[in-house]
């Protein structure tokens, strides 16, 4: 009796910790994601936790732990896909707006994410390296953004979800004065707008 009481207490503590982790990851997620995308299963567990007792006994600690890990993993994967979507830039050659084969590979990932997240609208930023002159580079950056936009529209993404802007050479990611830096700066970058 004493032992099972301790077990019960430990179970409760684990449950509480699990609950806290879920809530914290949930709130983190909410701040970044569309509320439409939230998982219904998470709220069920929290509700059970609040009621105490009954529901808990239908799950073993291992099952709870597994579920918690699984959910965390799902959140992590989704978050990672989102991070990749935002972080993976599409790169271009000097004074070039054509999409290379590696640019197309990156863009296929973008298409996949946009399909999985039909509520998301994105801004495509076109950028250039510091070489060349500003006026032409703003036009060139716009053309890079347009190249990317055209690819996405051809892949079936609605044009209404895509907007574009050019910053020319004004927003480099690498301030170096060499080909490696220039290569990183000649890019189309994605921003999620909602």
């Amino acid at each position: 009796m004493k032992k099972s009481n301790i077990c019960y207490k430990i179970g409760l503590v684990i449950l509480m910790v699990g609950f806290l982790v879920t809530v914290s990851s949930c709130s983190k997620k909410k701040s970044r994601l569309d509320p439409m995308e939230a998982y219904p299963s998470e709220t069920e567990i929290s509700a059970a936790g609040e009621q105490g007792g009954d529901a808990v006994q239908t799950m073993t600690e291992e099952e709870l732990e597994a579920q918690r890990i699984q959910e965390q993993e799902a959140v992590r994967i989704k978050e990672e896909a989102r991070m990749n979507f935002v972080n993976d830039d599409v790169y271009f050659g000097f004074d070039d707006v054509t999409l290379t084969s590696s640019a197309r590979m990156v863009l296929k990932q973008k298409v996949a994410w946009l399909r999985e997240n039909p509520g998301a609208s994105v801004l495509i930023e076109g950028h250039c390296d510091e070489r060349g002159t500003e006026e032409y580079n703003i036009a060139l950056g716009q053309r890079r953004a347009q190249s990317v936009k055209a690819f996405l529209i051809n892949a079936g993404i609605s044009a209404s979800r895509l907007s574009s802007i050019s910053y020319g050479e004004e927003r480099p990611v690498d301030f170096g004065n060499n080909e490696s830096a220039w290569g990183k700066n000649r890019r189309a970058h994605f921003k999620i707008q909602n």
Partner: protein, 448 residues
Amino acid sequence: MSQFMKMKLSNIHFLVAYVLLISLFLSPQCCFADYDYIKISDPFLNKIPVAVPVFKSLSEESAGKEIPVTASDLVKEFLAFTGYFKMIDREAFLEDLQVKGITGPKINFDNWRDIGAELLITGGVTIKGDQLQIEFRLFDTFKSELLFGKRYKGRLDDQRKIVLRFCSEMVYRLTGKRGVFESMIAFVSTATGNKEVFTCEFDGYDVKQATQSKSLTLFPAWSPDGSSIAYTSYKNDKPEIFIKHLRDRTEKRISFDGINITPVWMSGKKQMGATLSFEGDEEIYLLTESGKIDKRLTKNWGIDVSPTFSPDDKMMAFVSNRFGSPQIFIQNLDTGAVRRLTYEGKYNTQPEWSPAGDRIVYSGMEKGQINIFVINTDGGDIKQLTRDAGSNESPSWSPDGSLIVFSSTRTGKSRIFVMTASGTDQRALLTLSGEQTDPAWSPSFKEY
């Protein structure tokens, strides 16, 4: 008088040119570079030696005691700025006009000819209360005669304006051209942390912030009357064109879908050219003053950007990548016929048509370095004006066509520089914190 002076000066030029020609033949290995970037008859190479002794104080007032020195120094500074004159060091002077006097009969012109001065400027300063009067005399030392004299009255703090009036008159009489001293320069500076448009006088004096966009602001362009500056700003999170009236502080916005950049006025009509991309392609359009589209000027898939109009508004030069890399093209605005202007190099941009209409200044990139070039509108006589001195961009003509303002990274950060139209006398215009780019020289403000 001016006719006479021009004749006289051309005689001087002939003489100097002759001497130079001889020295060229004597040392054949020294010259004949890739481009003949300085002509032998170039007035900026054959500077006229001028002596400007400290002005004479003609009153006993204690206020403004420094003005005889400062005003004569300003004369030297302004005249040197034009590139036409060489200032003779006062240490070399043989005659003290403070003692002898500033009028013709009191001057021994032998003493000025002997130190190489072809022109002599004397001045007298009279101060009464807060009233300032300066009289100037310009002498031809070889003819020992007064070319012209002027007396200007103003307040004590009008010293700069008075000296500018005299210098403007003098340069006009010697060259037949006017405008540099009555002009301003707009540029972009990062001094506030954002790129904003600033203005200053022709020589970098009196810097003022013209825009408060608190965001990326680029490409200032003056209206033909100098009352407004058009520019591109990202203040609404996309590149849009704004026209700011400098005195009224009012502002108009031109915004279509996509980019709205590189505004530039026609010189006669109240119309602007600009690059817009709302049709999915960067094309140049003619806009009314209120920002409505009058017509589309370019019709070619590819980037068309950076329009500049000939002084008679009949032609437009612009940048296009229709043949691959960016090159400068000229379009006849009546017929629509387009011809390619630049063939040298793979990257030629930022054209600006000269006030006289015969030349186009632009920036060209070779081996990763951007330099300033000028070319005839028929494609001939290309001259490279900058070399081996960082990146040199955004050239803009002074209203009389004698000088070119541009940005350069030759000293590290990008700064505004000025040179003569033949590339001589390259110097920094001003020193400000941050980086300065995109200079645009204003038209002449006729009244001072």
